[in-house]
């Protein structure tokens, strides 16, 4: 399992760097929108007593931690895929980063766009289930479409890519948002750009770092 440790080491470095970059982008672009949207929310009585990070360094610190750790997790998926396919170098990494962006951001957001706090949505559990199903179907579908040579698997892959969107994401019967529509649209655009930069950078760094690693 020496190879596993090497994959972890590469992914830690790539994930922390990618997460740091994403946190800086978010701090200046999407965090102000989240804070603005929260002004429209009135705290409900049951939530008042829950612990939450204080605005400022504590809140930003947890976001940095979250981004670094999810970056680590995503980088593990990228580097393991490249390891299996004997690929290295930043160009392959960017290709896998693009796939990750599609699987974990574009496809789920197509049905469930990123939301500002205070947006009414369908029940959380059903949205999480649809999100996970969509990411899984998209990952398998992309694999079938791009990485196999048999016609049947390619057709099946294309079908899997479409399936979650034919089923449709769960939405509330009456959609309501506290924040103005323009704020929400601005948030979606910036989030899409930030995540694209994050994924492509994460892939490029992972691929570059893998170049220096000799596996067993």
């Amino acid at each position: 399992m020496a190879d596993f440790r090497k994959l972890v080491a590469v992914s830690l470095r790539a994930g922390l760097l990618g997460g740091l970059l994403l946190s800086v982008l978010q701090h200046y672009q999407t965090l102000p929108l989240i804070l603005a949207a929260e002004q429209f929310e009135t705290p409900s009585a049951e939530h008042v007593h829950d612990w939450q990070p204080m605005d400022g360094w504590q809140r930003n610190g947890f976001t940095l931690l979250f981004n670094g750790l999810t970056g680590f997790g995503f980088a593990l998926l990228i580097s393991a895929s490249m390891y299996w396919r004997n690929q290295r170098g930043y160009l392959y990494g960017i290709g896998w980063g693009l796939a990750g962006y599609w699987v974990f951001y574009v496809a789920p957001s197509f049905g469930l766009p990123p939301e500002l706090p205070g947006t009414d949505s369908a029940e959380l559990h059903s949205r999480q289930t649809w999100w996970l199903f969509t990411a899984a179907a998209t990952a398998i579908g992309l694999f079938g479409l791009v990485l196999t040579k048999q016609r049947l698997l390619q057709f099946g892959g294309a079908g899997l890519l479409a399936l979650p969107h034919l089923i449709g994401a769960p939405h509330p019967e009456v959609a309501q948002a506290l924040a103005p529509e323009a704020l929400q649209q601005h948030f979606v655009v910036l989030t899409s750009i930030n995540n694209a930069i994050f994924w492509l950078t994460l892939g490029a760094i992972s691929g570059r770092l893998l170049r220096k690693v000799t596996f067993e």
């Binding site: 994959l7 612990w51 939450q52 997790g73 995503f74 393991a80 949505s121 959380l124 996970l132 995540n195």
Partner: protein, 58 residues
């Protein structure tokens, strides 16, 4: 002989390290993005990150 077109099947010795990395990666990502704890500690700490990554949050 190596050909460019043929994608090599994953060798047995490479399966386990890669598979372990994928399981660890998915555990980290899904744990941070999806777990709901009774006291909302994890939810509130991960709040801005979840919103900005388009994970379903509330």
């Amino acid at each position: 002989m190596k050909t460019l077109a043929a994608s090599p099947a994953i060798s047995t010795s490479k399966f386990l390290p890669g598979f372990s990395a994928i399981i660890l990666g998915l555990t980290v990502v899904l744990g941070l993005g999806f777990l709901q704890d009774a006291n909302n500690y994890l939810h509130n700490a991960a709040h801005d990150g979840r919103h900005s990554a388009a994970f379903p949050c509330h």
